[in-house]
Amino acid sequence: MKAFTQHKGLAAPMDRANVDTDLIIPKQFLKSIKRTGFGPNLFDELRYLDEGQPGQDNSARPLNPEFPLNFPRYNGASVLLARDNFGCGSSREHAPWALDDYGFRAVIAPSFADIFYNNCFKNGLLPIALDEQVVDQLFEEMYAQEGYELTIDLEKQQVIKPNGETIDFEVDEFRKHCLLNGLDDIGLTLEDADAIRAYEARRREQAPWLFDSVK
């Protein structure tokens, strides 16, 4: 997995609450059997004026001029500012894949849906939950100032504003460790293979029917 240590990048808005993963990446693109290539279809229904199809040449499609990510000023953005309950709905990991593929490295919101939040960490994308007032403030400053860049320091657990002001954020120890070092958590879990086998042996005694095979 891609490591995340420090990142400085342009902030862009996704200014609505309850953005669901259907909106982040619509279902027709879930037919892909790959992990990459979802970026051009991130927020597809908001970003373009027509209905997108997998395998299409997206550069020929009509862009929605009212959608902020299409504004020249947000070109090259890598930090997404969002609202409450971002990433709700379906468990599709295609949502963080699409955000990552587009170029986002971090998402800042007052709250995230559980599965989405979890999925981000597996893909080197950092979700940062901050107080609602703090997020409001960031939105205001971003709207007011073109080229508004945020620096994110995972080691220090801080978001640093253009004026140098810092905002602390919380992140789970284990997730932070994995993300900082780009660790594959399967490898880590397999270090506990003996504990898993011991559990299985114990459990097989108590509840042997759980180990019967199907079909």
Binding site: S32, G55, D84, N118, I186
Partner: protein
């Protein structure tokens, strides 16, 4: 010390190791697989040279991309017209073969929506931990299991290690006491719950559904409720094991038999929250107060009783919510203050892992019997959740009731729940749907979804607009 909740017990039973950083390794008993969220996980295993830790814990079936239309379906995988869908289903086939995973293939008797076939085959059982790369895995919690949806990286992790890295969630009890009125179903209960606590109300919690109204539900009804726990933000929903559970599980093909059954029943008898268990949050509803529900917006919390009016955003005090309501009404093409019963339908969808079990089809058929769909309704799809539901419905003659009413009787699949196969709404079309998500574009680009129970969907198909199913004679015997 306070007693344990059902969730505490299931967690404890599956704890392999607590780590110092507050996470834990939780052992997974059953891992369900479908074609959409698994290809990248199998690919990951292959690239790392890994094998599934316990291949007999895996059960796969294709459901999202498979055609519901009988003629297209008859030719099997090779007959799927949409090439990209076909490749995805073929990839599942190939992965199951090369990793020696049990699969109920496209037209085999066990095939169906993963969350329908798990319980009905006994592949998912009380006391299990169940995962699937699908957020509606919470469905299986109805059996008294700890079941939740995971992402594709976690699918790979569970395949490789049989464990999930988890932090313990908080406990929430949603208690519904009293007796449901006739014609009011599990779907109405869960929509009313989501309307009350909101789509993020359960974030960070495992929800146990309890109270006399929940205990009074059949297993199918309990599955409908747990299915939508995720729509309230909770990864897991569950119901305690009782006699209804045991009667349901007994004699399922993969349920334990003979002395194993007795041992299992004894083991499962503790799968309920202790009387002195402490919950971090408790939400209470009265069953008598719940009416048939209809969602009017673009989030499952945007729901109202059928007798109500579409809300007026101007009356919403919170600015954020006000814009949310305004945007939803615009997308849905509805006016503030209009009657829900004045909403006209273009299509009706009866199906999905929320409401495609035999009891759901019986409820819809009870309404449709001897009636015809309204001419203004272009299409009414009835899509059974599994091959076995389909066979049972045909045995009972339900399919004839539907066909006589002008409905279309289709093949088991997710179908118009998310429109990955050919079944879709056109832009601007209103649909009465028994599925679980009314997000923008969920059932087709620009489509407008209204979530309802199977009886309400059938009633809307007949009338052409929403009606209170209780006002239609013969409705309501099957709750």
């Amino acid at each position: 010390m306070a007693g344990q909740t059902l969730y505490d017990k299931l967690w404890q039973d599956h704890l392999v190791k607590s780590r110092e950083d507050g996470t834990a390794l939780i052992y997974i008993d059953r891992h369900l697989i479908h074609e959409v969220t698994s290809p990248q996980a199998f690919e990951g295993l292959r690239l790392a040279g890994r094998k599934p830790w316990r291949r007999d814990s895996l059960v796969a079936t294709p459901d999202h991309n498979v055609p519901s239309e009988t003629a297209e379906r008859a030719a099997g995988v090779a007959g799927i017209r949409d090439e990209i869908s076909r490749i995805q289903v073929q990839t599942l086939d190939e992965n199951c073969k090369s990793f020696d995973v049990v699969q109920f293939g496209i037209n085999e008797p066990g095939q169906g929506i993963v969350h329908v076939i798990g319980p009905e085959t006994g592949a998912t059982m009380p006391g299990m931990t169940v995962v699937c790369g699908d957020s509606h895995t919470s469905t299986h919690g109805a059996l008294g299991a700890l079941a939740h949806g995971i992402g594709t990286s976690e699918v790979e992790h569970v395949m490789a290690t049989q464990c999930l890295i988890q932090k313990k969630m908080k406990n929430m009890l949603v208690r519904v006491d009293g007796e449901l009125g006739p014609g009011v179903t599990a779907k109405d209960v869960v929509l009313a719950i989501i309307g009350k606590i909101g789509t993020a109300g359960g974030t960070g919690y495992a929800i146990e559904f309890g109270g006399s109204a929940i205990r009074g539900l059949s297993m199918e009804g309990r599955m409908t409720i747990c299915n939508m726990a995720i729509e309230a933000g909770a990864r897991a929903g569950m119901v305690a094991v009782d006699q209804v559970t045991l009667d349901y599980v007994k004699d399922k093909p993969y349920a334990p038999k003979g002395s194993q059954w007795d041992a299992a029943v004894e083991n499962w008898s503790r799968l309920h929250s202790d009387d002195d268990a402490v919950f971090d949050a408790v939400v209470e509803l009265r069953a008598e107060e719940i009416e048939p529900q209809v969602s009017w917006g673009t989030s499952p919390e945007m729901v109202a009783p059928v007798s109500a009016l579409v809300p007026d955003p101007a009356k919403e005090a919170d600015a954020g919510k006000r814009t949310g309501v305004e945007r939803a009404l615009e997308y849905m093409g509805l006016d503030a203050g209009q009657k829900i019963t004045d909403i006209k339908l273009d299509r009706v969808f009866i199906g999905s892992c929320t409401n495609s079990r035999i009891e759901d089809l019986r409820a819809a058929a009870a309404v449709a019997k001897g009636r015809r769909k309204a001419d203004s309704v272009k299409q009414v799809l009835v899509v059974p959740g599994s091959q076995s539901v389909k066979a049972q419905a045909e045995k009972e003659g339900l399919h004839s009731v539907f066909i006589d009413a002008g409905f279309e009787w289709r093949e088991p699949s997710c179908s118009m729940c998310l429109a990955m196969n050919a079944d879709k709404l056109g832009a601007g079309e209103h649909c009465a749907s028994t599925s679980n998500r009314n997000f923008e574009g969920r059932q087709g680009y620009g489509g407008r979804t209204h979530l309802v129970s199977p009886g309400m969907a059938a009633a809307a198909a007949i009338a052409g607009n929403f009606v209170d199913v209780r006002e239609m004679a013969d409705a309501g015997e099957s709750a």
